[in-house]
Symmetry: C2
Subunit: 390 residues, 2 copies
């Protein structure tokens, strides 16, 4: 097989098996070759903004001279084209904005980060800084199309709400669609789809959640008790400010839809990273210990652990194993320097048992105090230099 | 953008955002252009079988003359090449077997279904009949590499085990690694990774599960109580036969790793299909009702409902909406004829509330008796002819 035009190939999906079968109902889309992604410029951007429910713009560097990079660029276009095709009936426009040629348009639209994708919905802009695959992008856009506030009407829906412990969630109790609810809704639109907003008009649901009228609760991921937003009724800005202050959770799960954003939000150049497969008994056990630690330390603004479930990122698993010199069939926790990917990992290899919450807290204290760091080597841990780096 | 060589493009993932960032640690693999997938033939297949822990062979039709189909074929090769690259350190061999040119090899290896992928591990063959994307394939192969029996040693791991209600699971209680455990392990290898096998040597874990020594429990997905395999100690064949008889669950979740296999396992040409997003309060509620129905009817061999969570298949969501004329932002249940994808759906659009378990059971009874079918139109439901079909 010759050297190929696909430097960035990864999650390609072929419905080949279905082609050989006489059965129908599971046909993966084939790109039909039709152009749907617009070349945005000063003449057409306003019209596009008006015309679609959502406008999805990829902000990119000028077409590179280098052939390899050109192929890479074409692949991005293809991801957008396939996404546009799949979502053809959904009234979503797609376009490309060149950071040089269309600098004026970019400025007017407020596009800042080259390589990001911006979604315009009504008068808002939502930045997508996640895995740029058709899967992830389609799912993200379908989420953006939904109502930003989800109603909780009964005990069963309440149970669904209570199970979502991985997400940042807000829930408010309102009399109905009055001005207080509207303020809540306006706030929700600023965080959609990254932060989930729920509301109830139902007295018994509110009672179960100990919510007073016009009160809003904020649930940090993995915490048992919510925080109550101070004051009520709350204005849109009250809610927005509270969320902005509290959105970096003590334990946060890495997700494809905003993985680069999460990674960029480091703590002084490092991340404490925990790998644990939730579907695996060992991984589950370790995750429960992590949650205990997070609950004990939820008021420490210095601490934020990024939990990565390797099952969610099959294509990165072996890259991580190599970069960090880890066995990801087992749970792991370590410190990663995000500027050079140097890392140091808690040595759990010789133990029958996983560390206790107390042992983990001691180790985290050593990390936060700098006693455990990626520049030195001592005690019960392994420092890993990234391969190829001196 | 010109017509492109990617008729089957879908889950392409580009780590572009990471390219623009100074941060390291999340680099998606780029295909490096190196050939890793072998062209299998009579001369090299035995050596390959011996050389690798796993050998992964794609059984395909001869290279087609049609240019479009050729591109499609190249894309399959690329998915395999990228998978091979990502798993380079894992001692897995990859190869292609041409159903015409390599007919003899195929026969010797027992390859049957063109378009399937066969994985050889020790003296077993595992067929992969799922979504042929690098993501899904990498995850599948990593699962195959793991031990087929997972140990449950303590209360926390037991909790992890009990949470896996979507999977078919077996768990056995043994004294240690004796011949009874070995028989259980041999059986597990025949079903890896599709059916999960667990074992415990721990008395208190066994007690919690009401397991006697050398006893094995079988958990059907979504059922509260397990079935006890008759007799003990059990031979490998006792276990294998029991699993084969019980593996089609009353409620089964469609999964990327074996989606085509599940779809081919229809009930007299039809599937009862339920769409429900578990992360959505409505979807969760509907799923709970479905589980109740499945529990009430677990002894009916005529009934098997395929549950599809649209979140797991973003690229198929709009295809299903179009083919079945559905709104998948809401839960849905219907009957699909797998030979032509005609379908009929329970009309839930005018109701404030979802149907009760009783109403759903009545409707299912109508389906099983043929009163509700895809060929006629009556009462509280909608028949949908596939677009473009007369």
């Amino acid at each position: 097989m010759q050297q190929i035009w696909l430097p960035l190939l990864s999650g390609l999906c072929l419905g080949l098996a279905s082609l050989c079968s006489a059965e129908e109902g599971l046909e993966f889309p084939n790109f039909d070759g039709k152009d749907r992604v617009l070349d945005m410029n000063e003449r057409n951007y306003k019209k596009a903004l008006k015309r679609y429910d959502l406008l999805c713009l990829f902000y990119h560097e000028p077409l590179p001279a280098n052939k390899g990079l050109q192929k890479r660029f074409q692949m991005t276009e293809l991801v957008l084209e396939l996404t546009a095709q799949v979502l053809e009936n959904k009234d979503i426009g797609f376009g490309m904005v060149d950071s040089q040629k269309d600098a004026k348009v970019a400025k007017k639209l407020g596009l800042e980060e080259v390589g990001s994708l911006y979604v315009f919905k009504d008068d808002r802009v939502i930045e997508f800084d996640g895995e740029l695959s058709a899967d992830t992008l389609v799912e993200f856009l379908l989420d953006v199309l939904e109502d930003p506030v989800e109603m909780i009407n009964n005990a069963m829906e309440l149970r669904a709400f209570e199970r979502m412990e991985e997400d940042i969630r807000l829930i408010g109790y309102f009399k109905g669609e009055d001005s207080y609810y509207k303020a809540f809704q306006e706030a929700s639109e600023r965080f959609q789809p990254y932060i989930k907003f729920f509301a109830t008009f139902d007295k018994s649901v509110a009672k179960h959640l100990s919510l007073k009228m016009n009160e809003v609760n904020f649930y940090e991921p993995f915490m048992e008790e919510p925080a109550i937003l101070p004051g009520r009724p709350l204005s849109e800005m009250d809610i927005v400010e509270f969320v902005n202050q509290h959105r970096r959770a003590t334990l946060r799960k890495l997700r494809a839809e905003n993985m680069f954003e999460t990674w960029e939000d480091d703590m002084d150049g490092i991340h404490i990273v925990a790998f644990a497969e939730e579907e695996d008994p060992d991984g589950y056990e370790f995750l429960e210990i992590l949650k205990d630690v997070a609950r004990d330390n939820t008021n420490n603004p210095e601490l934020s652990i990024v939990w990565i479930d390797p099952d969610d990122f099959p294509l990165l698993t072996t890259y991580w194993e190599k970069t960090f010199k880890l066995d990801l069939f087992r749970p792991q926790i370590g410190v990663v320097n995000v500027t050079d990917a140097d890392s140091v990992w808690l040595d759990m290899s010789n133990d029958e048992d996983l560390p206790t919450a107390e042992e983990l807290e001691d180790w985290i204290e050593d990390v936060l105090s700098g006693r455990v760091n990626t520049e030195e080597h001592r005690g019960r841990r392994r420092v890993c230099r990234r391969p190829g780096k001196r």
